[in-house]
Every structure is written in structure tokens, then in C-alpha cells.
Subunit: 256 residues, 2 copies
């Protein structure tokens, strides 16, 4: 079991902190720029907190930095002094390991969309680890396997593509749901909740079929009759129409 300091108190830090504590690690301290956020998470994790980087403990086995990408390098840099022997990792899918200046550095990227409202089962969340030395890599793998059943070693270059793939699978898919919601809002009195069984099934199918095999609808059949009618319905919303055209063409090209 390890002594851990969490730098950051957002959704990821909250979910990860709970999972780590749940399997017996000691969360020594939480840092957040905002005192109320630091205190809120510290209350949950029953640990100390601070909103001053200089007051962060120097005794942790590992410092997990889960702050905004743009703040990462600065925060990591300011924490070096007095902690030169310590292991620092960040949790950002899109950032290189070398965003951290420490000799002992690494990445611990749990790939999931976290929200404070919804608890997640950390055991099924894939965690991607990278480190600057074999011994720290082993240590990070051990940490990852303590909270998750799915752990991969992945270098910075390939992690960039993984993160990009996650943007497609999560953010962009979710935005397609948003367009569905807007279409219902604008036409008729049907609540968006009617879409949930379809969305659930669309996700569930992928446990059995690849996305390409699971594809249905007018674009995969290249049913220009239906597609032309759809484009007509979208003539008042040219941006949405453009998305329809581009995604339909991309679905079609994928069959060739």
C-alpha cells in the first residue's frame, strides 16, 4: 500500500481518490488551488488538505497530479523543490510524460468520463501507465492493478491516439446524441428519454459486434432516397446538414 498525495480535486481526482482509498492506500493530503474544493475532497477521503503548493507533504511515495492540462507543467515544476527523489505522475491522456520535469516521472491515465454526480466502478476502467524507469513502471502497474482489472503500458506517442480515439467515442458520440435531442425539441412533443433504449442498445451491441459490423441505417445501405429526405429536413440548420453529409459519406466510404 502506498502513501499518496493528490494534486487536484476535480472529477478525476475525486473518483480516483475514492478508488485508491477503497482498496487501502493512504491518501495523505489533497491539494487544490481552491480551498473549498480541497476541503470537500479531503472530507470524503478523510485526509489533510491545503491550497498552498509549498505546504504539500514531502513524504509521499507518489504524487498524482490531476489538474487542467494547461496548469500541469507549472504545478509539476513548482513541486520539485524538496521532493527531488519522489515519483510524480499525471493523469492526462493528451499530455506527454515529459510535461513533468522530475527525474522520477510517469503517467497514470484512467480512461473514463468522470462526473461528480455519478459513481463509477473503477475495476472496469482501463488504466494506461508509463514511467521513466522500469522500477517506477512496476510500481505504477502495481498501483493501477490495485484499483483496476484492465491495465496497459502505453507510451506517450500512442497515448495521444488513444486519447483522440476517446474523444471520438465519448465527446463526439455524445454530441450526436445532442443533435438528436435538439431535433426532438424542435419538432413535436417527444421527450429525449425515448432515445435512451436505442442509445443503450447501440452501446450494448459493441460488446458483441465491432462498430463496423454493428452499423445500420440509410448511410450504410447508401439509401439516397432516405438521405435526400433527411438533408431536406435539415435545410434550415446548415451546420447540422453538413454534419449529416460528412458522417454519411464517411460511413459509406468505410464499407468500400
Amino acid at each position: 500500500m502506498m502513501d499518496i498525495v493528490l494534486i487536484g480535486a476535480g472529477n478525476l481526482a475525486t473518483n480516483l481518490g475514492k478508488a485508491l482509498r477503497g482498496v487501502g492506500h493512504r491518501i495523505m493530503q489533497v491539494y487544490s488551488r481552491t480551498e473549498t474544493s480541497a476541503k470537500a475532497l479531503a472530507d470524503v477521503l478523510q485526509c489533510a488538505y491545503t491550497n498552498t503548493l509549498e505546504e504539500v507533504s514531502q513524504q509521499a511515495d507518489i504524487y498524482i497530479i490531476a489538474v487542467k492540462d494547461t496548469a500541469l507543467s507549472e504545478v509539476a515544476g513548482r513541486l520539485q523543490k524538496g521532493r527531488e527523489e519522489r515519483l510524480f505522475v499525471h493523469t492526462a491522456g493528451s499530455m506527454p510524460m515529459d510535461a513533468i520535469p522530475s527525474v522520477r516521472r510517469g503517467v497514470f491515465y484512467p480512461m473514463q468520463t468522470f462526473s461528480k454526480q455519478q459513481e463509477v466502478d473503477f475495476k472496469v476502467i482501463p488504466c494506461f501507465v508509463e514511467a521513466n524507469s522500469d522500477s517506477d513502471l512496476s510500481l505504477l502497474k502495481e498501483l493501477a492493478y490495485s484499483v483496476s482489472d484492465v491495465v496497459y503500458e502505453l507510451n506517450t506517442e500512442n497515448r495521444k491516439y488513444l486519447h483522440l480515439a476517446a474523444v471520438f467515442c465519448c465527446n463526439f458520440a455524445n454530441h450526436c446524441f445532442r443533435h438528436g435531442e435538439r431535433l426532438l425539441e424542435e419538432h413535436g412533443q417527444i421527450p429525449f428519454s425515448v432515445m435512451l433504449p436505442l442509445i443503450d442498445e447501440t452501446a450494448r451491441k459493441l460488446h458483441l459486434l465491432s462498430p463496423r459490423e454493428a452499423q445500420t441505417g440509410p448511410a450504410v445501405r447508401w439509401d439516397t432516397n432516405v438521405m435526400d429526405k433527411h438533408l431536406q429536413l435539415l435545410s434550415d440548420t446548415p451546420d447540422r446538414q453538413k454534419i449529416y453529409e460528412l458522417l454519411s459519406k464517411s460511413i459509406h466510404d468505410d464499407q468500400l
Copy 2:
């Protein structure tokens, strides 16, 4: 309980036929152009079958036409003779009720993505009904409520938008998953299965939050640093790059 003839033996006819039979309706007969398809479904539903439209029973309470959109009008037209008093409905979200020439006509649209491999719980599938008379509308609602807990009356005009919304929520979202899959195939040795917890959670969140509230990622934060790096990674795949640009912009515009 009603006497039903199914015209068509595809995924939708199969799933609907099973659900109708499961709650006690009598499936009298299955028609399919292809004899082996007709027989296969008839075996499941333990009923008669034919591949000749002229041999379709004249005695059913309701004829459910679940054939390709392009074949619908022709098939419905050829079935009129000798069945002038009968109720015909189709199951196509994108087709107008008037694609059926009968006096007694309607629509029974169960909104779901069906596959033969995967059984679905019909009870949660929203069914949208429309009919040419109040009495047939009542009859269709009764039929729909016998297999589903979620039934809406919806006219042809609004159903077009519903169907379009379903294309966004199912086909287009699935295609975003496909791009995620391809990115993983092309970079590193990570299997697509690592995306399933993220995809499941993206769907699950919508039971609690609207798609707009649930949105996360670089585009909603308008994090041009991350987005520029992503666009760079996509420079070899200009079509995918264009999709990235368009969806990111659309996510951003949605916040304004």
C-alpha cells in the same frame, strides 16, 4: 388478442414477431420474398409461411409490413385485392403513413436498432403509432401497449424528425465509435474493447444528465492547445480531420 400476418422476415419482423407471440397474439403467417427466410421465421413463431403475395391469408386483423422502404408501396399495393376491409401498417420510421394505399392504414414504428444476434427487451422499446381513423388508432395503441410500456401517437411529419434524430443517436454515434476503433487499429496494440467502459458510461450518463450537460472534453472547454494537437495527428486522414473540426465547432457553438 389479434390475428396477425407479418410481411417481411428481417431483423425487425423477427424481433416484433417474437414479442407479439410472447404476449399471446396469434401470428397466422409470415411472408418473405425469400422462402428460406420465411420458413426460418415461421419455425421460430410456429406459424405458416409463404413466399407468394397472392397466398397471404385474407383473414388477419392486421397486416404488419416490415420490408425495405423501397419495396413498401409496391408490396402494400399488391396486397389490397381481396383484403379491402383489412388494416395494414408499416414499421418504417422514415416513410409516410400514406405509403400504404389501403383505406385502413397506419404505422407501428418500434424505435430500436435490431440485430438477429442480440435479443432485445421489447417492453422498453418506444413504439410510435399513427392511423387513418380513431378506431384503428385505438387498435394500434392496444397492440403497441401489449408489447411495450412506452407508446406515443406521432404523425408522419414529426415522425420524420424522430427518425432523423435516431440516425444521429444510433448510426452517427456508432460511426464515431468506428473512428475510435480505427485510430486504435492504426496506432499501438490496444484492442477496441478498452473503449467499452467509456462508451457504456457515455450512454449511462444520459439517464441522469442531458447530452449537453454531460458533455466533456477539449471542444466544450474550447481547449485549442489540445484540439490543434489532435488536428495535427489527423493530418494523414483529411476526412477524419474534417469530421473532428466540424463536430468540435458544433460542440462549441452549442455552448453559446
